[in-house]
């Protein structure tokens, strides 16, 4: 290299007065220093320097060679290490001076590039042969020696591998373990004593199968399986960021997911509706509700933020989430620049981004059954009363004047600082819609919904413009309270957060360095180049609906593989591909590639039925294995890649709560509906900024205190502590794999949280209520918590424990059995076995 530099220098010096020779001087330099990343094999940042046309066209940020203008040519700025740009080649401060000088002269001399110049030797077309990008074919189940173990083809694939390794599968788990496992995996609830006894008495060889089929039709199936999907959807009940306002109707989307799973909506339809339900022909309200998936992005209402920035961030997030949840690709990595070994390039990222570039957020009426009739019957009366109130407080004329001033302020910023603030608040604090957009529509052209949104904003925020004194005179605060009260008195329709496609042609651009303000080349909506392309009508800009259909098309090798893999991980504790969200070239290879493809192909052949997929897995011998450790395999297969046993899995946060409430008999098993706020310690909300704005935690009353964990209101800035302690996602970005940590805070939570202590009391009550006999009571408590009967040794231990507790309590003057039973129950609710799916 040094020699070349010297040569270049010499030739540069010798030819000082003459023209630079491209073929002899420039091309060898580019070849030596640039082609590695900007040549035939790689075109980092979209730049290719070995072909004349491509080189002169430039990269993502535009032309890099401006003939005659070296001072403006990015190529020269980079290789001379100019300030403010990253020097090239990477890791250097630029090319040696003589080489840079040569290129500079060449550019200033007009960047002459003879057509005859030889470029780099062409490389064989590097069609990506990565396993995850190959078409899915359904492999035949392999032959195995011990065919008695094979209950369905899954077992053949698992056993073939085990036999190859000379390992026997683990024995089947005992019946009650299996029963509790199936209950927790299919419904997220432990079996009741009655269900346990029924199963024990059922001598039918297909008894387990019958249980599985019963559980698959349970309405709690949808609740259990909604959760991993909601993790991917980054579901939450609040905006996130500073103000973190509650989203009172986020649950409407959650409801949709639960219903869809309970009805076994085919996963392809499930996907299309969430990504583009609004674009379906004759889209129904439910189709639109599904697009709530795209609304689970965060909303930044902080004063002074640039809305364009967060609109961009949300589009990036939607793009990355598509990658994680369906494609198993970490495409978010390509937001800022190309990565040398990643086949998904920055351009690919922005081509996917372009599908979401026209997404507009819109809230709609999405009535639940039974709401519409009462609403319509009272609608006119409600509207008349509302209008009368607005008139009473002279809202009309004051709002008209305010609107005029606001538009004037927007046109002349910096003149009246109080009104500037009022304008910013319109952009950030309008509830349920885009304040600026509505304000700019002529009043007579606004829809009723738009009118209400703007009027409500005006009434609540007029003080920013006129100050507290004038505002007090308007009595708008009082009016606001009366309007809210009126609204509460009349039946209203449930709302849903959905999306729409903005009107008009969109143009989408790559963003240089991922910065929303720096536009690069224009891009068209398109799927990544390494994947089979999509069918689109020639000459038309492909839509989000085209994308959604492509995502679940037979030709897309990823969606089906990714989906069966995460379902597998839910049931086995580890994916066939370990990284559930990364099927890219650097990800771990599948442990059982043929099994993965078999499941993926069958999933599609079965009409994308989630229930059939799950049923097949749960009925397999592989699933039914014992989860006990196999010390003889510990060293050889510490991660259980061979699937030579089941895995003990600590339950996710929500299911720990559900199990405790279920065991205690306190649980409310209502399915669906609004989020609830169970008791939480004082001070939790105060750690968030939103508390200054009145975010609060109005504790749910009655049975709602005991709803399943899935329904707990998730406040992003100050989430419910128990959920945080047990690794529920933070809901900022899609999460495909939860952590299963094991901490002292979890221990404190289960030991001392009043919610769990109440559960212990409930369990004590249930046990004592079941029988007058001590042994029978203990058995009841065991069945309710661990789904099994106590062993003799355990019984003896508890007898001693109970006696000691009684003694202690007696010293405190408490001679009843209740407290001792509560303590005993609490021990059961804290056991590792209780919070684990064996």
């Amino acid at each position: 290299m040094r020699l070349l530099g010297l040569l270049a220098f010499l030739s540069g010096a010798l030819c000082a007065q003459t023209e630079v020779d491209f073929t002899r001087q420039v091309e060898p330099l580019l070849r030596a220093k640039c082609y590695g990343c900007h040549g035939p094999a790689q075109q980092m940042s979209g730049l290719r320097l070995d072909e004349k046309a491509a080189a002169l066209k430039g990269g993502y940020s535009g032309a890099v060679i401006l003939p005659g203008k070296s001072a403006e040519s990015k190529l020269i700025l980079r290789v001379t290490g100019a300030a403010g740009v990253m020097a090239m080649p990477p890791g250097t401060k630029g090319l040696p001076e003589a080489e840079a000088e040569l290129l500079k002269k060449w550019v200033d001399g007009g960047a002459k590039w003879p057509d005859s110049a030889a470029g780099a030797a062409p490389v064989a077309s590097k069609r990506v042969s990565h396993w995850a990008f190959r078409a899915i074919e359904r492999p035949a189940p392999p032959a195995v020696k011990d065919s008695r173990w094979v209950r369905n083809p899954i077992d053949a694939f698992v056993l073939a591998r085990l036999e190859r390794e000379g390992v026997k599968p683990a024995p089947e788990a005992d019946r009650l373990t299996l029963l509790r496992r199936a209950h927790l995996d299919l419904t997220g609830l432990p079996p009741t004593p009655a269900e346990i006894n029924e199963f024990l008495n059922d001598t039918d060889p297909d008894a387990y199968e019958h249980v599985v089929d019963r559980l698959l039709t349970s309405p709690h199936f949808g609740e259990r399986w909604a959760r991993p999907w909601l993790d991917r959807a980054r579901y939450a009940d609040s905006d996130g960021y500073e103000k973190d306002w509650a989203r009172p109707y986020a649950w409407r989307y959650r409801q949709w997911v639960i219903d869809a799973l309970n009805h076994d909506m085919p996963f392809d339809k499930f996907s299309v509706e969430q990504l583009a339900g609004d674009l379906l022909p004759k889209a129904s309200v439910e189709d639109r509700v599904a697009t709530g998936f795209l609304r689970m992005t965060l909303t930044n209402r902080e004063g002074g933020v640039d809305n364009n920035q967060f609109k961009f961030e949300n589009t990036v997030d939607r793009t990355s989430t598509l990658g994680a949840a369906w494609l198993g690709l970490t495409i978010g990595c390509a937001q800022c620049h190309d990565h040398k070994y990643d086949p998904i390039k920055q351009k690919d990222f922005y081509q996917l981004f372009a599908f979401f570039d026209k997404v507009e957020e819109v809230d709609i009426d999405a009535p639940m059954p039974g709401e519409l009739g009462p609403y319509l019957a009272k609608k006119d009366e409600y509207r008349a009363k509302r209008e009368a109130l607005l008139k009473e407080y002279r809202v009309g004329e004051q709002q008209a004047a305010w609107e005029k001033e606001m538009l004037d302020t927007a046109a002349h910023p910096g003149v009246r600082t109080d009104w500037d603030l009022a304008w910013d608040c319109l952009l950030k604090l309008t509830e349920g819609g885009d304040g600026e957009k509505i304000l700019r529509i002529a009043p007579e052209k606004r829809t009723q919904r738009q009118k209400d949104i703007l009027t409500d904003h005006f009434i609540r925020n007029y003080h920013f413009a006129v100050g507290p004194k004038v505002y007090a005179e308007t009595k708008f605060k009082e009016l606001d309270e009366r309007l809210r009260k009126l609204k509460d008195e009349y039946p209203q329709l449930t709302q849903a957060m959905t999306v729409d496609e903005a009107a008009g042609a969109a143009r989408s651009y790559l963003r240089v360095r991922g910065d929303y303000r720096t536009l690069g080349i224009e891009v068209q909506p398109q799927v990544p180049e390494v994947l089979p392309g999509m069918a689109a009508k020639a000459g038309e800009r492909p839509t989000r609906l085209d994308l959604a259909k492509w995502v679940v098309s037979r030709g897309n090798p990823l969606t089906s593989r990714v989906t069966v893999n995460w379902v597998w991980a839910e049931l086995f504790g580890r994916g066939i591909v370990k990284s559930l969200d990364d099927f890219g070239v650097r990800a771990d290879k599948p442990t059982h590639p043929e099994l993965l493809d078999y499941l993926a192909a069958k999933f599609m052949d079965d009409g994308w039925s989630m229930k059939k997929l799950i049923r097949g897995m749960v009925l397999s011998s592989a699933y039914r294995q014992s989860s006990k450790a196999r010390p003889e395999l510990e060293e050889r297969d510490p991660d259980n890649e061979l699937i030579a046993r089941q895995t003990r899995l600590r339950l996710p946060a929500e299911l720990i709560r559900d199990s405790a409430l279920m065991a205690s008999g306190l649980i409310s098993l209502d399915v669906g509906g609004k989020s609830v706020r169970p008791p939480q310690p004082d001070g939790v909300m105060e750690l968030g900024y939103g508390n200054r704005w009145g975010n609060s935690w109005p504790e749910s009353k009655g049975a709602d205190k005991y709803r399943r964990g899935l329904y707990i209101h998730f406040q992003r800035s100050t989430p419910y502590p128990m959920l945080v302690n047990f690794d529920a996602p933070k809901a900022n970005v899609a999460l495909c794999q939860r952590d299963r940590s094991n901490t002292a805070l979890q221990a404190l939570n289960l030991l001392n949280d009043p919610v769990f202590h109440e559960a212990a009391r409930g369990l004590a009550y249930e046990a004592m209520n079941a029988s007058a006999d001590w042994d029978a009571r203990l058995e009841e408590a065991y069945l309710r918590t661990l789904g099994r009967k106590p062993a003799d040794t355990e019984k003896r231990k508890f007898e001693t424990f109970f006696a000691k507790q009684k003694q202690l309590l007696a010293k405190e003057g408490n001679h009843s059995d209740d407290a001792a039973w509560t303590e005993l129950s609490s021990v059961l609710l804290n056991l590792d076995e209780f919070i684990t799916r064996e």
């Binding site: 965060l298 800035s717 970005v733 805070l745």
Partner: protein, 476 residues
């Protein structure tokens, strides 16, 4: 390994853990390695050696939420007084991107006089006499700059290195890199005073790191740590019985299943119990001399909240807690800045200085890094939300040049680093980016910031994102 051997390992593991010392955990790693097993350390918070010999062991970050005004506190700007009430020349401000005000807003001259403090003669505001009394111990940086000009993104940027949510915070990274010496307390403790902060729990989140590394809030009312006290009506003796029973049954189940995770569970419960006993001791100030309590202002209404937290911070690092984060909100003086600053300095100046003095006399300052500052600074121009009320004047957010200070482990005190231009618009000398600050903090702790990484979504992430250079001038 036969089952009984496996359990023997578990038992030894238990024994070593119960030694309640970091050395035990290290030894365990070696022991297992000696047996030909991977040195699997179950406790993710076991102390780890830094990458190179460290100056500081622990960090106390005094986070002044909302962005304190550098012109009234740390960065004297006499020239600015001359512009008071006037707009700055347009060519100086045309590229400014501000949150609420326009670049044409009128300048507000500094509202408080400065004077020289300490032997080093550090110029600080008269609002900060106590900080002035430790001027020779602190390194004042007047040339900080950030990329964010809104609170939530700014706080994320300061603590996670990125403006977008979901990444681990500084305290989580430090615990991930070094573990914690504290065996009875969490390794990352958060204390709050004032009102809630913009970024809420995002400021102490573990992001994509295991949640073990997240900050634990030490609460000022109710249980100091959530669920630390026994449920109502449960005595300590009864609680201990409960725990013994749990341990026995969990141990039996461990033997039945052979799942090492149960051993961790047993350990977690024992740690929880130790936290229950050590928690009250931590909060018990009765053995602190009156002079110490007075120094922190624990009994004075104005300084009580922050002073108590500063004293707790010292007690926490004494007990080996790796990263203590104090949040004090809010310094977001868009309005009524004169009144607001008097109030906030009144609450924080004395306790902040007391912390430095107290650490120093106990020989702890050398191994504790103390950082004081906000997420960005404030504009030289004024903000006027209520033109009819002159006292309502304030300043907007300004990320292009602001001040913070550091003291203790690895930091050279009695010096000022960098300066802003005469009009406080931008940094004129020795620019220190937020990523540089982060790199320097990690350096003091014996970690090279580019080497403290975590693989997530196919990429190695780090606190300093793609930037960061250690600021050598700050170091001893």
């Amino acid at each position: 390994m036969r089952p009984e051997e496996l359990f023997a390992v578990h038992n030894r593991r238990m024994f070593l853990r119960d030694c309640a010392s970091g050395i035990g955990m290290m030894a365990l790693g070696n022991l297992l390695a000696g047996e030909g097993r991977t040195a699997e350390i179950d406790d993710p918070l076991a102390p780890k050696k830094p990458q190179f010999p460290a100056k500081a062991k622990n960090v106390i970050f005094l986070f002044m939420e909302g962005a304190p005004s550098q012109m009234e506190l740390f960065d004297p700007k006499p020239e600015l007084s001359k512009w008071n009430g006037k707009a700055l020349p347009a060519d100086l401000t045309k590229d400014l991107k501000l949150a609420f005000i326009k670049p044409t807003a009128k300048v507000l001259g500094p509202q408080f006089p400065f004077r020289k403090y300490g032997q080093c003669g550090m110029e600080l505001s008269e609002l900060l006499p106590h900080t002035g009394s430790v001027a020779d111990d602190i390194c004042l940086v007047r040339s900080m700059y950030s990329e964010a000009f809104n609170h939530h993104p700014g706080q994320l940027f300061l603590f996670t290195g990125s403006m977008v949510g979901g990444r681990p915070t500084m305290g989580a990274w430090v615990n991930y890199g070094l573990g914690s010496e504290a065996r009875n307390l969490p390794g990352f403790v958060v204390l709050a005073s004032g009102v809630g902060t913009s970024a809420g729990s995002d400021n102490w989140s573990s992001g994509f790191l295991p949640s073990t590394y997240a900050g634990t809030v030490l609460r000022s009312k109710g249980d100091p740590i959530l669920y630390l006290s026994n449920p109502e009506g449960v005595s300590d003796a009864s609680q201990r019985l409960r725990l013994d029973m749990l341990k026995e049954l969990n141990q039996e189940h461990l033997e039945r299943t052979g799942d090492a995770e149960i051993a961790s569970r047993i350990h977690s419960y024992e740690l929880a119990y130790r936290m229950q006993t050590s928690g009250p001791e931590l909060l018990d100030f009765s053995k602190e001399p009156q002079e110490t309590l007075d120094m922190y202002g624990v009994k004075n209404e104005k300084t009580k909240a922050f002073g108590t937290n500063c004293l707790l911070a010292r007690r926490l690092v004494e007990r080996g807690v790796r990263f203590v984060m104090l949040l004090h909100a809010s310094w977001d003086h868009h309005s009524a800045i004169v009144k607001g600053l008097k109030q906030q300095t009144g609450a924080t100046d004395q306790p902040s200085a007391a912390l430095i003095k107290d650490l120093k006399r106990r020989g702890l300052l050398d191994e504790t890094l103390v950082v004081w500052g906000g997420e960005f600074g404030r504009t030289p121009m004024s903000e006027m939300r209520r033109p009819d009320d002159p006292d309502s004047i304030g300043r907007d957010h300004h990320p292009n040049g602001y001040a913070m200070w550091m003291a203790g482990g690895g930091i050279k005190g009695g010096q000022v680093i960098g300066q802003t231009d005469e009009l406080a618009l931008s940094v004129a000398e020795d620019k220190v980016h937020v990523h540089d600050l982060q790199a320097t903090i990690l350096h003091c702790l014996g970690m090279e910031h580019t080497k403290l990484t975590y693989r997530h979504l196919g990429r190695d992430f780090r606190l300093t994102d793609l930037g960061g250079q250690v600021v050598k001038k700050m170091l001893v």
